[in-house]
Subunit: 351 residues, 2 copies
């Protein structure tokens, strides 16, 4: 049997439980719980036989994205969702067994995954106990060996955000150390603050956004990176030339044309978040305030049992008790009025 | 400005000309020239709003593929087309700046691309002058430093195939040297011989196939790797967990259910290939016999002019004159009866 390379043998696998979710109210993956804009479905139904057989062309979408983001055409590139965005940044810049990547934890598992795959030296910074962002601790980790600093804003699974002035301070310190800052904004626009506009001010900033969350298109695998022209050019050299599928490109184009749909969904979710705070307070369940479309509740020892009981009531949530700082915590995606009603009913019954 | 890592700075870019192809008879990318099965389009038109917002699930397709290929469920994994198949094999096994990869040339550009990206030591083996496979020369390149041997069968852009006994001989020598053999069968079933059945005999064999060519689904980005369970397990650890989009998964499932459509298209193309041989003979244009859905013609010095003239007549072809051994050669995808009629008419007029 042929052995894989060493880094592969020792790295952590990633096996998210995405099978067997049908039929449940799926509050476990921070997806859009109702689905994408009907315009996207309409677009799908109009796709013609011949258009699937040709290789994808990204120019039209890049132009549309540049208008949406108010950046230049050469400052944006589509990616196979956030996963490939992260992968491409690391693959473009990390010199193996030499460059450091700073990752605040707990966070999205794929940062560590791609850092390990590319043999980056990983410097983790633990969030504060109240799950607020550890700005001071992170600044101390940035030095001349640092190549990439990861910020997830707002972060999953904590749901917490980073202050604009802290972001700028981090970008500046990174710049002084010849390091990039990658800001993952997967939960934009649930959290309405973006750092995209800073790309013209700082040439070491890369921002990632996605159609997987608020846009409700996780299954299509499409996102994008925004940065200055030079960084985009370097990353375009590394990314697989056709990694984003053409149907996703067509659908993303349609989705951007119906952004009102997304904004309306975001309003509904954010309203229900406040409603959940209120309800959790009444139930005396500890929770963390969140800037995204999910929140963490602290259930303590009985978290496994709690998730199982919710499942029996037809609701999937994600147990995060194994994450650093999150012992006893369960992550719950927030959905529509009706779904929130169902969730609250279940929470009351389990209590 | 933050510099990318060294290997990225020195590597070749890959910028295929896939824009501005609309409205032409596209005989330049070896795509299916009529499109995928109507069942795929029907499937697309039935996709519901909620199904796009959830992360993809590959189990149903893996099961269907395993039946199609007559292998076990654990012996096949979907990939984001052949590009990611190649990328994953290299990324799983190549130890940077140490392991050698043997690549017969000229061939599909992405082998060199991903080898460079992963800092493999590239050992090229030149095809024979008549574009037949250089078995002896290749065997001599395999040694204890070799980690991966690439075979493309049939090869693009040469169109030539490798004899089964030569394949077995190469796999055996690779096995004796602890090296893998990756066989890219992108043009299956235009060429109806596959090495998939050999995976149970040789644990160092990995086969790649795709829905991009005969199936007419290049825009959807889906293919698969077939190997023994252990290799698949290692590669599943490395591949991005959601790199294949769910719409492609659903469409591939539908396409496998209408394989008769693909076989009928393949018969038409292979019939037109023989017709083209005949016509090219009459026109006294030198050509190479091909086992795929394209062929090479040798036009000599005027190849640039020749491609331009075909474009003026509404037909796109691919000039391969810059490839090793292929000076003056133009690659033409073969299509339907009607398209071949149009092509022949144009070839006669240009003559």
């Amino acid at each position: 049997m042929i052995k894989p390379r060493k880094a592969v043998m020792v790295m952590d696998g990633y096996n998210p439980p995405t099978s067997g979710r049908e039929g449940y109210l799926r509050l476990d993956f921070n997806e859009n719980t109702v689905g994408c804009s009907p315009k996207v479905i309409e677009t799908l139904s109009k796709i013609k036989q011949g258009s699937l057989s040709v290789y994808p062309d990204y120019n039209k979408l890049r132009k549309k994205l540049s208008e949406f983001l108010k950046v230049k055409f050469d400052q944006v590139m589509p990616t196979n969702a956030t996963d490939e965005a992260i992968k491409t940044v690391i693959e473009t810049y990390i010199e193996r067994s030499k460059d450091e990547i700073v990752i605040p934890v707990p966070t999205f598992a794929m940062f560590r995954f791609y850092a390990q795959l590319n043999e980056a030296i990983i410097k983790e910074v633990l969030y504060n106990d109240d799950l607020s962002f550890p700005t001071e601790k992170l600044l101390m980790k940035i030095n001349s060996k640092t190549k990439i600093v990861v910020l997830v804003n707002p972060n999953s699974p904590t749901g917490t955000s980073i202050k604009k002035e802290d972001i700028v301070q981090i970008i500046k310190k990174a710049r002084d150390n010849n390091a990039l800052v990658l800001i993952d904004e997967a939960y934009y626009p649930f959290f309405n603050e973006s750092s995209v506009e800073l790309i013209n001010e700082f040439d070491n900033l890369i921002v990632s956004q996605t159609f997987s969350k608020a846009f409700g298109m996780a299954n299509l695998r499409i996102g994008y990176l925004v940065s200055n022209e030079e960084n985009i050019k370097n990353m375009l050299k590394v990314i697989s030339p056709y990694s984003v599928n053409g149907v996703a490109v067509t659908c993303a184009f349609a989705a951007l044309g119906d952004y009102g749909y997304v904004k309306s969904y975001v309003r509904e979710v954010n309203k229900n978040k406040v409603r959940l705070y209120d309800e959790l307070g009444k139930l005396e369940i500890k929770y963390y305030k969140s800037e995204a479309n999910f929140l963490l509740i602290d259930i303590g020892d009985k978290c496994y049992d709690y998730c199982e009981k919710l499942k029996q009531k037809g609701i999937l949530v994600r147990n995060r008790t194994k994450d650093q700082l999150l012992e006893g915590c369960v992550r719950i995606t927030i959905g529509t009025d009706e779904q929130t009603e169902k969730l609250i009913k279940a929470l009351r019954e389990i209590k």
